[in-house]
């Protein structure tokens, strides 16, 4: 029963996408809109094939995507490795939280590009400043999610561990950490989304490679076909990255929503 319902929704999703693509195809091919502003799907596909084969402005397409992914994944992983333990510690100790909270509350509401200029001055225009920027952008959502997750762990979970003989350290590693895993994954997904948005913005401001730069550069030459192609590739990459985390979550946290 449940499976059947799921597949109905799948069909609706697929139908929606097909209808949008078909509308795009018809509107552009029937000449209802100016194809210099809204290119036909064929033109976008041709741009994709062209860049996939010949590259764009000195870099292959894979190099552009790779440059973006390198910046994103390095900073995302760094942020995860640092923010998860700090967030969990903050949730367990109010004193620790008192140290970190003002710092994070200060920079969190700022749009990342506001302090990007500062990072560029400090670390140069190359990857270092971008990685630092993305690191900061990814850090906050992971940290905040982890902190609140610890504070929401069921009191009875912790109390029963103590009455079963666990030490404080064991309670942290064997109860609090696994109990927080669903929230940790939620934080990671949010962070990846925020990081990706920030990445594209940063590449549009200062870069000579990457997907964000490619789209910005194409817009300088009014190459709408390339802009569209770049945006679609960005979106597809985002969906794939999100899917990877979702898949990892399913493997690591099979109990999510069941306790």
């Amino acid at each position: 029963m449940k499976k059947k319902k799921l597949s109905t929704e799948r069909i609706i999703t697929i139908a929606t996408v097909v209808i949008i693509l078909a509308a795009w195809f018809l509107v552009t091919n029937l000449g209802l809109v100016d194809t210099t502003l809204l290119p036909t799907p064929q033109m976008v596909w041709a741009a994709f094939m062209d860049i996939a084969v010949n590259g764009y402005k000195g870099f292959t397409f894979a190099q552009h995507i790779g440059a973006s992914m390198y910046r994103l994944l390095v900073s995302f992983l760094l942020a995860a490795v640092v923010a998860v333990p700090l967030g969990l510690l903050s949730g367990s100790s109010s004193k620790f939280r008192a140290v970190l909270e003002p710092i994070i509350e200060f920079y969190r509401p700022l749009p990342p590009l506001a302090y990007y200029t500062l990072l560029v001055l400090l670390l140069g225009i190359e990857n270092e400043s971008k990685i630092a920027l993305l690191f900061l952008a990814c850090f906050a959502p992971i940290y905040i999610q982890c902190t609140s997750a610890v504070m929401r762990v069921k009191k009875d979970y912790i109390n029963s561990a103590y009455t079963l003989g666990a030490t404080k350290k064991q309670v942290f590693t064997k109860v609090i950490f696994p109990a927080c895993l669903p929230d940790i994954f939620m934080g990671l997904r949010t962070a990846l989304g925020v990081g990706y948005t920030t990445l594209v913005a940063a590449e549009m401001v200062a870069a000579s490679s990457g997907l964000g730069w490619l789209v910005l550069d194409a817009s300088n030459y009014l190459r709408y076909d390339i802009i569209f192609m770049g945006i679609i590739v960005m979106s597809a990459t985002g969906i794939i990255l999100n899917g990877i985390i979702l898949f990892a979550e399913k493997c690591v946290v099979p109990w999510k929503g069941k306790d």
Binding site: N159, T163, Q170, K174
Partner: protein
């Protein structure tokens, strides 16, 4: 001299002049007043009382989750300071960890206490079988029914072989039939393992069916108003079974307890 004799070591848990006060929204609240209780080894104590009478507070003090404002709570002569595996707690809703299967949940205690692997395995298997979950070791908690989960929680505390088992309305969330089965099971385990049990319930019949001693508490301030020594649990365990519930003595005690509780409810309404 007599006092020394009275504090004989067969008392597993002793509570002396326990008072617990806390600052509520409308000033100081006395949750427990002058509670004195000696629990002997092998006793099955059931606590009854209206909601808000401090039964759970009392259990939390014995477990070591709370410190009394005044008075002393001791186990085997030693002051209770913080939780310990020697005083196991079964919560109303099972607190099995969903990231562990049933076997690993039960083995949690011996594992964190670093018991030898072989011993842990033997104990885990023994107590899983005792609660009739021998075939469910590799299931996850969320794959089991409420009654099975509560049985697993029971195995999880029994496996530590604690000196005292504290239970806070452990069958409160179960349906009537499952409840009956759980009572039978817990009686069987108690008579086999000679455990000392302190069980909070709001069901007079449950208390009468299980206890060797029933403690009735009153609310505001929470204190012990009456104690009953009962032995129906042996009758129900024996040949008489159901008929033990319809003896004159059973009815009398039942009525007396209900009168005490109802009286309090009426004074509260006034």
């Amino acid at each position: 001299m007599e006092e020394i004799l009275n504090a004989a070591p067969q008392h597993v848990v002793t509570l002396e002049n326990i008072n617990l006060k806390y600052n509520g929204e409308r000033g100081e609240v006395t949750a427990l007043q002058n509670v004195n209780l000696n629990i002997e080894k092998g006793e099955f104590i059931c606590v009854l009382g209206p909601s808000g009478c401090g039964k759970s507070t009392l259990l939390n003090i014995m477990a070591g989750f709370l410190k009394p404002t005044e008075g002393e709570a001791k186990m085997n002569g030693k002051l209770i300071e913080g939780a310990s595996w020697e005083r196991a707690v079964v919560f109303q809703t099972p607190t099995l960890y969903p990231w562990l299967n049933i076997h690993d949940n039960v083995a949690f205690g011996p594992n964190v206490r670093h018991l030898p692997k072989k011993e842990t395995e033997e104990l885990t298997r023994k107590y899983l079988n005792l609660v009739e979950l021998g075939d469910f070791g590799d299931h996850k908690p969320y794959e089991l029914s409420g009654g099975m989960r509560q049985r697993a929680s029971l195995a999880r505390v029994l496996v530590n072989q604690p000196g005292m088992i504290l239970m806070d309305e452990p069958f409160g969330a179960l349906d009537a039939l499952t409840r009956q089965n759980m009572q039978t099971l817990i009686r069987k385990i108690w008579s086999q393992t000679q455990n000392t049990v302190f069980l909070i319930t709001h069901d007079v019949d449950e208390a009468l069916a299980l206890a060797t001693r029933i403690i009735v508490m009153s609310s505001r301030p929470g204190r012990i108003v009456k104690e009953f020594e009962t032995d129906f649990t042996y009758d129900i365990d024996g040949v008489n079974k159901e008929s033990a519930r319809y003896t004159r003595k059973y009815m009398q005690i039942r009525e007396e307890i209900l009168n005490i509780i109802n009286e309090q409810n009426e004074t509260l309404k006034l």
